[in-house]
């Protein structure tokens, strides 16, 4: 079996009903509700099972025997489990030895390696987990995720090839005008999903939707859909500080704009702002809705954008509005394919070069 085939087999194990790793992930991941963990990991492993062999095939021309002589250090952040798993897979496809420093309290990398060992112990042996924060210093290549300050420190301290993935924002753009969109309700359901997945913790999570058409109607409908999503896939229980941050921003915007929010909890919030340009969301399913006119060229230039999700606009129109690493349909914002080659992860061949 090739590495890609082994990983695909492993991913299919995660998709089997009653597999022990998913059960443990649901129990041990405390940053998200068990329902959210299950859906998020299921989507991740569905994508891996479907695409990892294709990725291996595409990257084959760049994979050389040199790959087996390098050590890749993966320094993972705790906001989402997905990037860590994908990062390890890319290291394995490159043929490298992998040293993984997971975020404190994130059991998913360990569970993935355990499941890989059940398929191919030798391949799993190419991955070592460490709690040592300085382990990256012995690597040839460092792949690091996290906040900008941490990444700057790591970058300054290492002489290895360095791939870092820090802060970025994502937005949505929706054209609700009659002739532009065939199924506006589907776009709203998709928008609610894009905001709510992984409790908006990833850099591909939209923090604001810019609307052509009736922004207030979109905001209200989005609120309904976010509530429906929350009933089935509840948001995590927040710390006092995170809840206080949401309460503070809600209070402020209930005066400056119009707010729809979960009653008796901070589970989700939609703010309609018809005047502002950009304001940071406190995340945890807190999203702004603004008229498209507020997405000015100046703002678009200043925002470091990861993903723009869109509906009702053409790709050309959206690219004219804002420069981002990735453009996708609404509903796909939080489902980046393993075959994605821009922005959010290194390519297999990059590690070897």
């Amino acid at each position: 079996m090739t590495t890609g085939q082994t990983i695909a087999t492993t991913a299919r194990l995660w998709l089997k009903r009653g597999n022990p790793w998913m059960a443990r992930a649901k129990r041990e991941v405390t940053a998200f509700s068990p329902q959210m963990v299950e859906m998020g990991l299921r989507e991740l492993f569905e994508d891996i099972a479907a695409n990892v062999e294709e990725l291996e095939r595409r990257e084959a021309p760049r994979i050389t025997s040199h790959g087996s002589r390098i050590t890749v250090s993966h320094v993972l952040s705790g906001n989402l489990p997905n990037p860590g798993v994908v990062s390890i897979i890319i290291g394995l496809l490159a043929g490298a030895r992998n040293v993984v420093k997971p975020a404190t309290g994130d059991p998913v990398p360990a569970l993935f390696i355990e499941s890989l060992a059940a398929v191919d112990a030798k391949l799993a042996g190419r991955v070592t987990l460490t709690a040592n924060r300085e382990a990256y210093q012995k690597a040839n290549v460092v792949v690091a995720y996290g906040d900008d300050v941490t990444l700057a420190v790591l970058r300054a301290k290492t002489k290895a090839s360095f791939f870092d993935f820090g802060h970025r924002n994502s937005i949505g753009a929706v054209n609700l005008c009659h002739s532009a969109i065939r199924h506006p309700q589907s776009a709203i359901v998709a928008a609610a999903r894009d905001v709510s997945m992984w409790d908006q913790q990833g850099c591909m999570s939209p923090q604001c939707f810019y609307i052509k058409g009736d922004a207030a109607a979109f905001a209200e409908a989005l609120a309904h859909e976010m509530e429906r999503f929350d009933r089935r896939w509840p948001r995590a229980t927040l710390s006092f500080g995170d809840a206080a941050a949401i309460a503070h921003v809600r209070n402020e915007w209930s005066f400056r704009g119009r707010v729809w929010d979960s009653n008796g909890s901070t589970h989700w919030t939609v703010v309609l702002d018809k005047r502002g340009g950009w304001a940071p969301s406190p995340l945890n399913r807190f999203v702004f809705v603004r008229p498209i006119e507020l997405l000015t060229p100046k703002l678009a230039k200043q925002l470091p954008l990861s993903t723009v999700g869109f509906a009702g606009f053409s790709l050309k129109e959206v690219m004219g509005m804002a420069q981002a690493d990735r453009y996708c349909s609404l509903d796909e914002m939080q489902r980046p394919s393993l075959l994605l080659t821009n922005g959010s992860r290194p390519r297999v061949g990059d590690l070897i070069v």
Binding site: S170, F240, N263, T266, A279
Partner: protein, 376 residues
């Protein structure tokens, strides 16, 4: 999701006049701070004030309406919508017409582009001054200090002329006048710029080294003073105040100096000024309020006057925190006649009986996770 609440609609009561309300508030204040205001009395005046503010304070009315609240369905003071302090930056939250606004208090803070604005006129300033004095007298100058003669007042703030929009300085000026002290008791803005100048100014204000001192100041001024005392070799033993002296500290740091936790600050006051912990008092106030809260150094629990109520709100549930639990501090201040009586602060506290222990400022929506604030 918020849906239409099942509410009982009452006929909208008439909004009482400002004069009528002032008379009731002053009457409550005149009973003193030891008089416990029964909940029924507080409720009656709070609802009258809410009707007045709902009728005349347009931004507040819009806010209440966005929450589907009005005098028709607010039947208890706890149901009165609390306005967030940040709203004072975005709107003129006042019942006063532009012509009636003779004074405005601004929030402090060096980095704020737009400060909070709390408007007053002669009548509401009279309320402000009437409300501040009984608590100050009862908590800071209680006991032997009530009748103390020959004590020296020193105030570590700018003068009223230098900071006409500071509610704290207005309070200090009121205290100065009530204690019949000369205007020179203020160290002034220039001295506050520099720790050594501040130490020299404080020493120069103490005319008689044997008569006790009442030293009032902001936490940041004390820290600046102590940093200077530490670095000045000739003042190595500190700036010992005469026996029997008292200290009141208030306010945060707002980035103007290093931050020192309250307990540590009080230890420094004791060590550097020779004032025992029993003679140190903390004050908690803000420009959006007309009343203040005080805590003795040892207890750390702040209490307000009888015309105030405090609720600690769980940010997750928006319900009142239980005894000993953390919550966001929400204050109902009946002396806030011309603005809004219910103020939602950004401060976190722990509920302790009818008071609160102050923990500090709630975290703001800063750049976190993958978000990044872009200065635009």
């Amino acid at each position: 999701m918020k849906t239409a609440r099942k509410t009982t609609y009452l006929p909208a009561p008439k909004s009482p006049s400002a004069g009528e309300l002032d008379a009731r508030i002053l009457n409550l204040i005149a009973r003193g701070v030891e008089h416990r205001c029964p909940d029924a009395g507080f409720d009656s005046l709070a609802l009258a004030l809410f009707r007045h503010q709902f009728a005349l304070n347009r931004p507040y009315r819009r806010y209440c309406e966005s929450l589907s609240r009005s005098p028709r369905n607010v039947a208890h003071w706890k149901q009165i919508p609390a306005i967030p302090t940040t709203a004072f930056k975005n709107a003129n939250l006042t019942t006063l017409t532009p012509k009636q606004r003779t004074t405005v208090f601004h929030s402090s803070g060096t980095t704020e582009h737009r400060p909070s604005r709390h408007f007053h006129n002669a009548a509401t300033l009279a309320l402000y001054e009437a409300a501040l004095w009984p608590m100050f007298a009862g908590r800071v100058t209680s006991g032997e200090w009530r009748t103390a003669r020959n004590c020296q007042l020193v105030i570590l703030t700018p003068t009223l002329a230098e900071a006409p929009h500071s509610s704290l300085v207005h309070m200090m000026e009121t205290v100065r006048r009530r204690r019949q002290a000369p205007p020179s008791v203020f160290v002034g803005a220039a001295a506050l710029e520099n720790g050594r100048a501040l130490a020299t100014a404080v020493q120069s204000k103490i005319q008689n080294p044997k008569s006790k001192v009442l030293l009032l100041g902001t936490a940041f001024a004390f820290v600046r003073l102590f940093d200077a005392i530490t670095t000045a070799p000739r003042q190595g033993r500190g700036l010992q105040l005469p026996p029997g002296s008292r200290v009141m500290e208030t306010g945060g740091y707002k980035g103007r100096t290093r931050e020192v936790p309250r307990k540590e600050l009080h230890a420094l006051i004791s060590a550097k000024l020779g004032v025992p912990r029993t003679a140190i008092v903390s004050e908690y106030g803000m420009c959006e309020l007309s009343s203040q809260f005080y805590a003795a150094s040892q207890s750390a629990v702040f209490h307000g006057p009888p015309w105030t109520r405090v609720r600690l709100i769980n940010p997750e549930t928006d319900r009142e925190a239980r005894e000993g639990e953390r919550g966001l501090i929400r204050i109902f201040d009946l002396a806030n006649r011309a603005s809004v009586i219910a103020i939602q602060t950004e401060d976190i506290g722990v509920r302790r009986g009818d008071g609160f222990e102050l923990l500090g400022r709630a975290p703001q929506a800063e750049a976190r996770g993958c978000s990044l604030m872009v200065p635009l």
